[in-house]
Assembly symmetry: C2
Homo-oligomer: 183 residues x 2
C-alpha cells in the first residue's frame, strides 16, 4: 500500500508490489485476485464479524441496537489494529481513483445486505431489517469519514456512538418538525 | 431500455438501441455518453432537485426533515412520471449486471454528497450534515427497494414516509436499548 501512496494506484504494477513485499508475483496472486484486493483484503472477514455480532446481540435488542453492536465491535478493532494512519493512507488512495471508490461502495453495500440477512434471521421483518442495515452502514460511513479526516480528535468507537446518538436526535427532531441541533 | 430487458444489457449494442429509437448512432452519442447512460439519464437533474428542495425547506426544519422534504418530492415525481413498471424493469436490468450496480451505488453516493453540501449551506455543521445526508439516502434506498419489489402495495411517497417514521422508531428503540417493533 506504501507504493500506491508513493506513485499512485494506476502506476503501481503487481511486480513492484511483490518485490517490495519480498514475494514472487505468483505468490501475490495466491493471496490477492488483483491489485485492488490489497486494499480490500479482510472485508469478507469484517462482514462475517458484523453478522456474528448481530446474531449474538442480546435478545431484547432493537434492530438498530443489534447493528450498532456489530459496528461498535468493528470500530474497536479498527482503532487498535490498523490505526488511523493506515486508514487515512488507504482512504487517500481510494478517493483518488474512481474504480477503487466503486469497489468501496460495493463493499459497504455487501455489508448492508449481510446485516439485513442477519437481522431477518433474528425474526426482524423484511422492511425493518433492510432499513436498520442501510441506516447502520450510513451511520458507520459518516463516523468513519470524520475519523479519517483528522489525525487527532475522537476515536472511532466514540464517533460511531456519537453518530448513533446523533441519529436519534436527527430522527426525533425530524419527525417533530421542530428546530433542533442535530447532535 | 426495452432491448436491455429483452436480450440483456451486455448483448445489446448501441446500433440496436439507436435503431429501435429511430436515431442514428451519432445522435445517440449526442445524448448519452455510453450504453449505461440510458439507465442513468436524469440522475444529475434529480440531484439538483434534491439540493433545491433542501435549500428551500422551511427555516426551522431539522437536517433530516430538510433531506426528507427533498426525498418526498422526488418520490412523488417517480410515482407519477415514470411509474413503478418502468422502475421495476430498470431495477431488474441493473441488479443483473455488476457494472450497472456499481454505477447505481455511485449515483446514490453522489446524491448523498450533494445533500450534505446543501445542508452545510443551511448552516448545519459538517458532522450532522454528512450523517443526515447518508441516513436520508439509506432511508430512500430501503423504501425504493420495497417499492420495486411488488407491483401493488403502498406508493413510493408512503413508503418513504414510513421509512422516515420507522427510522424514528429504530433510533429511539436503539438508544433506549429496549425491545420494540421497528415499524
Amino acid at each position: 500500500m506504501e507504493l500506491y501512496g508513493e506513485r499512485g494506484f494506476e502506476q503501481t504494477t503487481v511486480a513492484e508490489i511483490a518485490e517490495r513485499a519480498g514475494l514472487t508475483e505468483r505468490t501475490f496472486f495466491r493471496h490477492f485476485a488483483d491489485k485492488r484486493e490489497v486494499l480490500f483484503g479482510g472485508s469478507d472477514a469484517v462482514r462475517d464479524a458484523l453478522v456474528e455480532a448481530v446474531a449474538g446481540a442480546p435478545e431484547p435488542a432493537s434492530p438498530l441496537a443489534a447493528v450498532g453492536a456489530g459496528l461498535m465491535a468493528f470500530a474497536e478493532v479498527l482503532e487498535t489494529e490498523r490505526g488511523r494512519t493506515f486508514a487515512r493512507r488507504r482512504q487517500r488512495i481510494i478517493s483518488s481513483n474512481d474504480e477503487l471508490r466503486e469497489r468501496e461502495l460495493i463493499k459497504l453495500a455487501t455489508w448492508a445486505t449481510a446485516l439485513a440477512d442477519a437481522l431477518r434471521r433474528r425474526g426482524v421483518d423484511e422492511a425493518a431489517a433492510r432499513l436498520a442495515a442501510e441506516v447502520g452502514v450510513a451511520v458507520f460511513k459518516a463516523a468513519f469519514e470524520r475519523w479519517v479526516a483528522t489525525t487527532r480528535g475522537p476515536k472511532l468507537p466514540e464517533l460511531v456512538q456519537e453518530s448513533l446518538d446523533g441519529l436519534n436526535a436527527l430522527a426525533t427532531a425530524g419527525s417533530a418538525r421542530t428546530p433542533a441541533a442535530a447532535r
